[in-house]
Structure formats: C-alpha cells, structure tokens
Symmetry: C2
Subunit: 468 residues, 2 copies
C-alpha cells in the first residue's frame, strides 16, 4: 500500500494524496450520513492526464477505484465500501471551464466544476445552462453526468443526459477516450457517451464534458395553484401545454402535508392562498422576453382552469420576490421533513397519466396497514416524478414504522412496477437501491447491464458494489 | 437452407418467407441503387414473438440477419452483403400503433409503422410527433430509430434519439428485452435503449418503441432571407434565438447553386427574392397559437438583421401557400441534383460556429485542384449539419471528377475532422462510410465500438459488414 500511495503521489504531488483517516473522513461518508466506507487513499488529480495515470497505476495493482464529485449524491454511489479496498478519486480539482462557444450554444467544462460555475459560465456568454438542483452550489458536473441529474427544469430542457453533447472519459484501463464533440448531429457509430452518462462511475471516470446551452429566457411568470385532486393536476398540465406550448418550464406538485411541514418548520414561510387545499401546483412559464404578456397568458390559462373545475384557487406572482416566495415553499420541503424527523423516502416515476392511480392505489394499500400514515408527496409532476415520503406522527410510532421500511417499499414499489414506472427516477441506484433494483428489473435487462459492465470493466475495478 | 426456410415458414407462415430472386429483389437493392446484395431468404414477421423465433432459429443455424425497415436508407445499412449468407428480416408487417397516451405525451409504435403513420397517430391525440423527413411516407420508424434519423426540426426537437423514451428489442440470441417504458425520468442503471438507437441493426432488432409527443404548434411563421455570407447566417441564428427563443424550429441554409438547380429543373419553382444572392436561409418559427404575433416577431427580427448587416433582403410568407412554396425550394434540392447528374455527396456536421470556416477552407482547397468545381451546399445550419455536394459542369469533366471521389472525400473530411466535426451527421455509416469512419475515429473509440459489438453480438450475427 505504501508503494501505491508513493506512486500516486508521484503523479499528483504528495499534497494531493491523503491516507490518514482524519483527512480522508470527509470523503468517506455520504451527504445524508447513511453510508460510511473506508479507502486505501484519497487522491485528487488536477488534469485528465493525472487521472489517467492514477487509473493505470491502480489497475496495474488490481486496486479498485471510487470516483467522487461533490459528494452530494443521495444513494451512496460515491461512498466506498467498508472493505477499504479502493482508492477514492476526487475530481474536485479539475474545475476549469475549458471553452464557451456562444454561437454554437455549447461549453466544455471539466468534471470538477460546480453546477453553479457551469451556469455562471453560460451566463457569461449570454446563454442558459438549464440544469438546476438544490445542491447546485456544491455538486460537481461530473457527478451530475454520472448520475444523469434531473431537477426542476426537466419538463422543458430534459435531464442531464439530454444536455450532454460529448464527454472525455478515462477508461478502466487508463486509456483516455476523447469524445468531446460539440455537435448536434453525429451518426458515426454507437453513441458511446450514453454509456457513461448515468453509469455512476462504474464504467470509467468522466473528466470533462461538452454541454448544451440555450437562449436565456428574459421573462418568467409563476403561479401557485390549488387543484381539487391529482387528476385535475394532470389535466391542468395538458391545458397549460396546449395553451402555452413549450413555455411551461416547471410544474411541481405539492401535497397538503408537504406544505404544512414547510409552514410549521421553516421561518417566514406563508401559505399563498387562503383556506386549506389537498393539492397545489407550482407553475412556471418562461419566454425570451415580454413578462407582461406571459403573466397575462398564465392568468388566462388559470381562469380557464378554474372555469372547467381543474383549479379551485390560484395566485400569480406579482413580483420576482413573490415568485421566489412560492419557490421557497417548494424548495424547503426536504429541509422541513428533515426537521420533522426521519421518514421512508421514495423517488419514483410513472407515466404522467398514471400519477392519479399511483397516488390513490398506494395510499389505499398503505392506509389498510397503517391508517394514520402521513404521506408527504411532492415533486416534478410534469415529468411523472414524485418524491413520496412516509412517516407516522409521534416519535415512537414513527420509529416502529421506519423499522418496517422493507414492507413499505414493497407496497410503494410494487405499485410503481405495476404502472410500468421507475423506483429511482432521478437519484440513481448507488448502494441504496441496488438490491431493490435487482428485484424489479427483468432478468434480460439485468443481464444486459452485467454484459455492458463486464465488457467495459472486465476486472471490476470501477466503483465496485454500485449499480450492477 | 431448405430446412431453414421451412423453419422460418413454420413461424411466420409460408406466404411471408421468400427465397426466389424475383420476390426478394426489391429488398436487396438500396434506395439509391448503389448496393445490391444477396440473401438466403426474406422473412416478414408479424409480431415480436415471431421476430424472436426467427432470430433464435437463425442464431441456432449460425446464419446472420439483416434487419430492414422501409429500405430508404442512404448508406446501404439495410442491404445485405453480396455473399448471400444472411436472412433479411423485413419489419414492415409490424405496423400497429399500440397505444397513444396524450396525457403522458407518449405513444407506442411498432417498428413497421411508417413515420407518417406515427405523425398521424400523434395528431389523432392532438399532439405532435416532430420528426420529419423527405421519406416520411415510406420510411419505417424502426429504421428511424436504428439510424437515429434527423431532418428539418432537429433544431427545436432533437434527433430521433431525443424522441425515444423506450424500446423493445429482440437480442441477437432471440431473447426479447422489453424496455418500453414511457418515462421522462428513470435512473435505474445503464440506459440500455441508447445502445440500439443508431446502431443500424448491428446489436439487435428494434420491434417497437415508446416515443415522445409534444403540444401541437397552432401557428408558424416562415421567411426566406438572403444573407451576405455564411458567417452572417450563423450570427442571424443567434439573433433569432435571442429574440424568439425556442420558437425557432428550422434554420436551413441554401447556397446559390442549390437554388439555381431547383429553379432550373423543378417545374413551377420561383425565386422568392429579386436579384441573385450567394446564400439564403429558410427560417421557421412555431408557437402554440397566434400567428399574427409570430409573423410580427419574425418581421421585426429580420428588420433588425437587415439594419445590422446580417441580412440583405427577405420575404416573410404571407400565406400558408407561400410558406409551402419556400419549403418546396428547400425540399427539391436533392431531386434537382439528381436530374442534373451525379455528384459527390457529403453529409457533414461541425460546431455551428465553425460552419463559415469549414465552407471557406474547403472551397479554397477544392478550387486549388479543381477551379471550376460546383459546390452545392445546403442543409440544417441550425444543427451545424450541411449537405455538401460536389460536381463539375459538363458530363465528361464530371465523370472524371467523380472518379476521384476518394481524393475529394479526403479534402472535405480532413477539414471536417480538423474542426472536430462528423463525417456522417444524419445518414449513418452502413456500408458506405465504414472504411472512411475507421480512418477518422480514434483507435480508442473504434475499440470501444468493437467491444460493445462483441459484448452484445458475440457471434457477429446481426447485420454483418455494417458500422463496425
């Protein structure tokens, strides 16, 4: 092991290799604190060449590697296993924006750039990089690519996968694949970049990416809408897209208990509407210009929705401050839940049209066993993606309930599977959902995944124990 | 061989297996007439199960297979090799639209549906399926997926790859992978569908797909704009997207010689503008509604372009008929070229910002050798994708010139490679560009492609001699 550390230090400099437990600690526990692993060393390359040299050295020594970005993942995908047999490769030092090409609507960023830095670089070229997440100040773009990150603008702009034009990857044997093309169209064989997007570092280490940029919207309109039920929310989405087309950039569902928790725990939050409603939707439109016209369009659409019974009340934000206040309600749900206590969390998706059935059937099945279960449902309805978190009032009751996570997962995920949905819509698999995933994937699909893994990483050196 | 035919007939019925040369002939020559192959049999399955049975039978007999859609491909990807060692599997009978889910903005179509049938099914649900190609009445959606088809709306909606939510595939050993999920977000492991999109049938046979739908635009505005040079066209694109945002759905460049050929050979075509201009752009905006506002927006943008020297003259279509007439000029370029005679064709892409350099450098290099070369350049400038076709006036001269295709390709493709572009932007590789592709791809990338091919099709049974 000392030989290995020396060899790594020889590549990156001794100051960028850690092997005492105190310095390594921040890298070895995941953000949620669910997983703590061990590592032979933490190494921090400063360039693609250094990354390649590290991988070659580890591969020669038959030592596995765990790539890590901002360590903000929610499934333990960047935390090494407890066996301590891996070297953790932190990509944070590779944080250069290599190029911004506004006329081509593209930039090239290294894996260690924060998402916020990428957004800023786009803005510097008068363009938008639309990926937006709660952790954007600290998550790294290499991690966003490796987990195919989602967030609040997927409805309009797609997931990270749709935003990547090309990647540079260090393969498990240390070779560098330069796939950094910034092209909209390229049909010269298999689209290899797709293998590495969402692979959670199990097939290689993404060192840089060419990313798509968009015109910057100059105007937004935001509304908080109370809807009678989830089916009305789905129909409201159709109405919105019929009337406003692709201006619809966000359509976030917020259930009553989610709003209540925010109002209870987060200071200075206020309900936008009088009275209590079971379901709310946060709607945002964006356009190249002309905010007044956009507000008018949103108001007319909501009026039509109220006329036809798809909405019961609504507030259109009259100022940027008010729009931010609406968004703060949505963005503080996770924090409010954390303060309230532990819960059983799910990150599911189904076809948008199946959301009402999912909610109704799952609630029924859960309440048959736990009549007082508290369902905190919220999220990206426009993408069919809900965060569906469950707890019970009262600490003792809740502790008992949480101990039955497996049974709860079975109920929730069986409903998801029956509706041809996904048990991990945007957070990935990591360590957290590997077994659960194996339960719901077909044998053919699991075998295809293993085939890809074996083909690209025959010695199983990349991020062992994750995904497959 | 008779055993094999009998076994295939046993699966699909004798009327759907052909093995005499007259019945097989239409399947064995590609649309352009460049390639003619031979086959042991042509078999036409009517279901996924029949396709799987056919593949299992062929695999057991160690007989390779060539999947074929509408036989409209431009690179010979669906034409078997002359060795006659393959069974051709025509997917045309699998032509059911399985489901249309307007609320989820998705439909499921079998591989044998024409693209036009998919567009119509979407319209039936008051939605848009945006892929649009010259051959849409006869190309099949399985072929569109297998070639990652492009076309004229990529600027706004992406290539076929971006429009596919899920696929059903018969693997090379006859197993069926049901990946027909209609989800916007699904991070449960490797995104396996990406392997089969654009693989030209070399990794399996796509039998069905879940496809994305969009709100139907109710209004379009169309203009024919003369620009002083290619750089002005690129800047006009930026201006257009800044001012009109994502309304910009098409931005097609038409060079002077392309327009001249259409006016010469196609009846009833008229130049939209007085005077001769070296470069034109066909611009289209689309929006959910309100055509007048859209026309106004386009007119103001063009006025600003003329003020700043990015455009010299323009006509905004005053009627749908006039818009169609502008489009007819663009769409008849291929036909006009065909009438004029043979030419050396290229389907290239570079970063949009590099288009002016590509045009200038390549013209200079070509004219140094052939001062009277005629360059017909046109296409999807918004995607950085040009069709760049070369010929010489005079049949004898031209025949000599065409005989030097290899030298011409070297000049054109070397420029493309130097600008980090693609030698096949939207048509694929097939047989036509396999060697050329191997010349320009890095050894690492070629090796990755071969690794994927070996992993999924270890016995080399799927569409031999294509892509890799």
């Amino acid at each position: 092991m000392n030989d290995l550390v020396a060899a790594l230090a020889n590549v990156v400099g001794a100051q960028y290799v850690m092997h005492d437990s105190a310095s390594m600690a921040p890298y070895l526990t995941d953000w949620r604190g669910r997983y703590t692993g061990r590592a032979m060393a933490v190494v921090r390359p400063g360039s693609t060449q250094e990354t390649a040299d590290i991988v070659r050295i580890c591969a020669s020594a038959h030592v596995s590697m765990v790539p890590q970005g901002g360590n903000t993942g929610l499934c333990g995908g960047a935390t090494p296993l407890p066996d301590g047999g891996s070297v953790l490769v932190s990509m944070a030092r590779m944080n250069r924006i290599r190029t911004v090409d506004a006329a081509n609507n593209a930039l090239v960023a290294e894996a260690g750039c924060t998402l916020a830095a990428v957004q800023q670089a786009a803005e510097g070229g008068d363009r938008l990089f639309p990926l937006s997440l709660a952790s954007e100040g600290s998550c790294l773009v290499g991690g966003n690519i490796s987990t195919n990150a989602g967030g609040v603008q997927v409805l309009r702009y797609g997931n990270m996968r749709e935003l990547v034009l090309g990647v540079e990857v260090v393969l498990p044997d240390g070779r560098v694949w330069n796939g950094l093309r910034s092209l909209r169209k390229d049909n010269t064989g298999y689209d290899l970049k797709q293998l590495f997007i969402g692979a959670e570092g199990t097939l290689g280490i993404v060192t840089a990416a060419a990313l798509k940029l968009f015109p910057r919207p100059q105007a937004t309109a935001t509304a908080w809408v109370a809807v009678p039920d989830a089916r009305a929310a789905v129909d409201l989405l159709s109405l919105l897209r019929d009337r406003c087309g692709e201006r619809a950039t966000a359509f976030e569902l917020v259930g009553r208990s989610a709003l209540d928790l925010v109002l209870k725990h987060i200071p200075a939050m206020r309900a936008p509407l009088a009275g209590a409603h079971d379901w709310h939707v946060l709607v945002e439109l964006a356009d190249a210009f002309d905010g007044e016209a956009l507000d008018g369009m949103l108001e007319r659409t909501i009026a039509a929705a109220i006329d036809s019974g798809l909405a019961v009340d609504a507030a259109v934000a009259a100022s940027i401050a008010q729009a931010r206040a609406f968004w703060a309600l949505r963005e503080n749900i996770s924090e409010a839940q954390k303060i309230e206590g532990v819960s059983i969390k799910h990150d599911i998706s189904v076809p948008v049209s199946a959301i009402p059935d999912f909610l109704q059937q799952t609630q029924q099945a859960l309440m048959a066993l736990w009549p007082d279960v508290r369902i905190v449902a919220f999220g990206h309805l426009g993408d069919g993606n809900l965060h569906y978190n469950l707890s019970k009032p009262g600490a003792v009751d809740n502790a008992e309930f949480v101990a039955r996570t497996q049974d709860v997962n079975r109920i929730v995920h069986d409903r998801v599977a029956a509706l041809n949905g996904s048990i991990s819509a945007e957070h990935g698999i990591g360590q957290l959902k590997r077994e659960e995933n194996a339960r719901y994937k077909s044998e053919v699909e699991l075998d295809l995944m293993r085939t890809v893994k074996r083909a690209l990483d025959p010695h199983g050196l990349m991020n062992p124990g994750k995904v497959v």
